[in-house]
Assembly symmetry: C2
Homo-oligomer: 192 residues x 2
DNA sequence: ACCTGACTAAAAAACGAGAAAAGTCAAATT
DNA sequence: AATTTGACTTTTCTCGTTTTTTAGTCAGGT
């Protein structure tokens, strides 16, 4: 009970400060102060500052990912699931970019972090997209020659579009294009 | 005659050294030495180091762009033109990434340069893609609601896919995905 | 008009001292 | 035994100064 309380409190407080000042400008001391804990307590739960940051980012990832999965679950068919998946994914990235305001100013230095965390979820995501496409095929909505390849190709595109968010904040500009791309993509795989 | 000789020689030599060491690690002194010219000669033709670099990159761009245009010209119909355009564009980027080896280690710091240079060609490229799509519509190959939006969307995707080349060198992996994307995309816009 | 090389100004790198921050751990508390 | 603390050590960062390197200049030569 108390165990979870301290750790969660640290993560929560750390999230607020990291998201505002970024990794480098945030000290472990100020996190400790804000959490009303001794610095040693933080090192009891997290091996180092990096692991704390990783914990914060993963926690945020989990939250946003639940929203993503939920949006798919309430879709009526595979086409809608796919469209919603892509839209909400973009919105998720947009939220993350806004949450981590400080990330924008120094994206490259955070890249190793981001890659490390996302590596955990990449396999999961490709499984998700594949199952999406498979159910579309099984429901006679889609006709796809190679589901694995199509899923990989789609994720490659989506990942390529992430960086503009972090660097340029061009969400509004990109959204219309995304919607057009979604409709072309779905038209390209739908059963005739 | 002599005019063009010295300037071209400087550009050529600068291209070799910049491509190997990148902008920051290359000195104007060593370019001058390698070209067997005095440093003042370089400043006779180029206002500053940046303009020299820009000259080198533009020269390379021109060469690669001619190949791109040529590959389109020998295509039989709009579908083939579009597919070839995308494939050769990716190959072009791949070549550029290999040529500028040093860019890979520090891609984002070069981004302002690249953006400045490419701004000159962006309008041209969107015009090219739009004319491609338009001819497809006029030939009854494609049906597209909004050519401008579709062209923008496609270019957004293609630009997003450039970054893996510079960061990860995964050309072989990307190519298959690109081919699948091309066929889906064309299927998505072709007339039924 | 083109080219040179000595020179200047600016930028970058190196350095050392001190401050700040990450991390440690014995002792205290629960 | 698990959790927490706070004084302490080690590591990293910052800053001002000095030195070196580099970009750029320009009078003079061809």
């Amino acid at each position: 009970m108390r165990i979870d309380n301290t750790k969660e409190k640290i993560l929560h407080v750390a999230g607020l400060i990291f998201s505002k000042f970024g990794f480098h400008k945030t000290t472990v001391d100020e996190i400790a102060r804000a959490a009303h804990k001794a610095k040693g307590s933080i090192y009891y739960y997290f091996r180092n500052k990096e692991e704390l940051f990783q914990g914060v980012v993963e926690k945020e990832f989990q939250t946003l990912r639940s929203e993503l999965v939920a949006s798919i679950d309430k879709s009526k068919n595979a086409k809608e699931k796919l469209a919603n998946y892509i839209i909400v994914r973009m919105q998720t990235i947009h939220k993350l970019a806004n949450f981590y305001d400080a990330l924008k100013n120094d994206y490259l230095s955070y890249l190793p972090f981001i890659e490390k965390i996302r590596a955990k979820y990449d396999n999961e995501e490709i499984v998700l997209v594949k199952s999406l496409l498979t159910s579309g095929v099984n429901n006679n909505e889609f006709e796809i020659r190679d589901i694995e390849l199509t899923a990989s190709a789609l994720l490659t595109v989506l990942k390529g579009l992430e960086i503009p968010f972090f660097i340029n904040e061009e969400y509004m500009k990109l959204e219309n294009r995304m919607r057009e791309l979604i409709s072309i993509f779905i038209r390209g795989i739908e059963k005739r």
